[in-house]
Symmetry: C2
């Protein structure tokens, strides 16, 4: 693997060279031992007009593996160039859930061509899955699973797996259904292999299994798979009939996407599902500007607070210099608390009912943090600002105002930071939106209000 990463640029060079010199047999030999995902990565760096040519060199099965891993732009380009026979060949090799993923990204005319060249059963299955809402278990499941009956023997079951296995996404877990297609048991290939030939499936199957519903949220489904360390989870409809399975590789992709979305939201970006370097300037702009505008406007309230204390500031100009430090520290404290709680919520470690435990914990942490920061600040103010830089305006009362403000700001910031994500979750908002930038804006205003209150009280402004 790591040899591959290091050698990638060289490999790309070599491939381009072979294409230019039309040494196709050699090129094919070079690609054959590689994994689909790696070839796809190389294809993205090839010239567009070379791509169909190189793609056609691959054997059918490998071609399908590579095709699945390509970005939708490249997939579309290849499909547009395919003859009908070529398209059918690639489609025949794809698993159903991958075909559905591709169909979801393609423009209408391409979708029509794909459906036209799928066999009738595949077409019906694609349409079935497309019905399910985005982000639901139904939309990421595959219907290509192994189903068994409970009165089969192990030998019958193995025969069935040998017969139907090649078209299934996985044979590692098999599902036992009754005559109404209701799911009644789950069986791993390991149990099956370790059993005796004449054991009855109904006797050895696991009857205590976990299943999900077609409309369950894909992130929750992926988290369950990870929590229980399963390789697949069965998806049932409202009548407990087995309609599909979600496999662990798709669950991993879902978790990665959801994490990226969460991180983007935490940084005040509207989530996108394209890699950064593939996103156009305009799309990036549209993802970033809404929050920037909103936060800019709310930050003007902070400005209003400063304006309304203009006289106090004019009387003690030294106070202005410490505004950024107080605001930044407040913002950092708030974002530490909020981000920790947001992550806890998405890992199902923290629930709304924990809110008082969380607040009580944050209060205690805030007090220790606040006092430590204030103490460090007090020493710095008097030793460095007053003694070293000879700033006579930094008197002990001024230092007291700054340090007391620090403690109170940290306390407020931590409480606001841990409470807002939980409240957001409660009222059905996405907690991730309540991260740093949002908290910062609120905490800025709070810290200034506290600052000027103490300044008025202690310095008598």
């Amino acid at each position: 693997m790591f040899e591959f990463v290091i050698g990638r640029d060289k490999l790309l060079e070599k491939i381009k060279d072979l294409v230019a010199r039309k040494r196709y047999a050699e090129l094919r030999g070079l690609l054959l031992p590689l994994e689909g995902a790696d070839i796809a990565a190389i294809f993205e760096d090839l010239e567009d007009h070379d791509l169909p040519l190189v793609f056609r060199l691959l054997p059918k099965e490998q071609a399908a593996e590579v095709f699945v891993e390509l970005d939708s732009d490249e997939q579309e380009m290849l499909i547009q160039g395919f003859s009908n026979t070529e398209l059918k060949e690639v489609l025949d090799e794809l698993y159903l859930d991958d075909t559905v993923d591709i169909v979801e990204e393609m423009p209408a005319n391409v979708v029509k061509r794909i459906l036209m060249h799928s066999d009738p059963e595949m077409r019906r299955n694609i349409n079935d899955i497309l019905k399910y809402p985005e982000d639901s278990a139904g939309s990421i499941m595959t219907t290509e699973f192994v189903d068994l009956k409970k009165d089969m023997t192990v030998a019958d079951a193995l025969k069935r797996i040998r017969r139907t296995g090649p078209d299934k996404e996985t044979i590692n877990v098999c599902y036992v259904i009754d005559t109404n297609r209701r799911l009644i048991g789950v069986l791993s290939i390991r149990t099956l292999l370790l059993a005796e030939e004449d054991d009855i499936i109904g006797d050895i199957m696991e009857q205590n299994f976990i299943s999900v519903r077609t409309l369950d949220d894909q992130e929750q489904v992926a988290r369950s798979l990870s929590k229980y360390s399963f390789l697949a989870l069965p998806v049932v409809d409202t009548e407990e009939r087995l309609v599909g399975i979600v496999t662990v590789d798709d669950a991993m992709d879902v978790l990665q996407e959801e994490v990226t979305e969460d991180i983007e939201k935490m940084a005040a970006i509207l989530p996108s599902d394209k890699p950064y370097l593939k996103t156009s300037i305009w799309e990036t702009f549209k993802a970033r500007i809404p929050w920037l505008l909103l936060l800019m406007i709310s930050a003007t309230f902070t400005g209003q607070i400063i304006s309304s204390f203009e006289n106090a500031l004019a009387a003690a100009t030294v106070l202005t210099a410490y505004i950024p430090m107080l605001m930044d520290t407040g913002g950092n404290c708030g974002s530490q608390a909020s981000v920790t709680v947001i992550r806890g919520i998405s890992l199902n470690e923290i629930e709304f009912s924990d809110i008082f435990r969380v607040i009580w914990k944050e209060i205690r942490v805030a007090v220790i943090c606040g006092i430590t920061l204030a103490a460090a600040n007090f020493v710095k103010l008097l030793l460095i600002d007053r003694l070293l830089f000879q700033n006579e305006l930094v008197t002990i009362p001024v230092a007291c105002v700054i340090c007391i403000t620090m403690v109170c700001t940290v306390l407020c910031a931590k409480i606001v930071g841990c409470t807002l994500p939980l409240l957001a979750k409660k009222i059905g908002f996405d907690p991730a939106v309540m991260a740093s930038p949002f908290i910062t804006t609120i905490v800025d205003a709070i810290s200034l209000l506290i600052y000027f209150q103490f300044a008025s009280a202690i310095l008598g402004l």
Copy 2:
């Protein structure tokens, strides 16, 4: 699954009630159908003195499943209470990699007891894995895999799997080794089952496989597993000898942990591997205070900048009110760019060699964002602040200073935000540390310098 979440509190009530009334048979019946992970979650809410009692009700195999899922505090408590026979029973049921995970978390006296009651082979294997550095592939692998020889027939191989399978972590992928234990091929159970009984393993095995080294970073290994959609990856030593495998469930856990770490670092928190509610106040404090102190001290530079322009501010007090808005917007723009790039780096979408493409993209996005924000701001300044609030100090030159500063700040923030994570990566630092709080502190200083430069130039202060 979802029924379980909803019913959890009720279930806990019921269990506590059955414990109190000593109705153990009924309690056992209640627990039997549940998954290990779910029982473990319930155990964490039980009273400490009830835990060993309820644990002993579980059948051996289920007890082991639950034990693995418990937090290390509870595991330690249970082990301390186990008789030697009980300890041996639980250990016998555990997979090697789970035992290693437990050993790593236990205090020395418990480790000694565990090693004393493992059989000699297990003990040697545990010690072997403990040798590997934390976060390496070796530290998360298991040595319980199925190995085959290339001259076996499929029937031989199936016989071997039936014989040794029960002790293996997975039989879904088998590994073919030569007489020196060098890995020469990989074979899925599906290929094996679909082959003819007298096929030779050497002919049907996959010779183009991906393997990792014992010292490879666990995150990279987990990403490879996810990228190639594998169920397990073989781990080889420097002489290509197969020493273990990493399975997909462990890879998922690694990815989740690494993401949590990244998110914590982005929020200026030192990463911890304990769930939030399990972390003590003191640990949370220690994880948060270093960055708070560092960032507080660096924020004082921002204060220095304000101090040095005190006269300018005194002459045009109106400028002070817009400092928070400029600083916040700069910080938000910078963190959008940095967080996007950090995530891109950890998903291997962006590399250092892309730095100029990234900067060029951010410059263009920054120009559009900056102009939009400045335009919105200009309108707001003149319509709301000047006309509505009758603030006569907000003249057109003042509005120009603020808006030009806005454009320049956004531009600098985006460039700094996208560059620092890539530079950090290049010099071997963790890019995630270069997120919002760090960028904010730098951008604060930059935005103030720009502000006062334009103020001096345009307003002639």
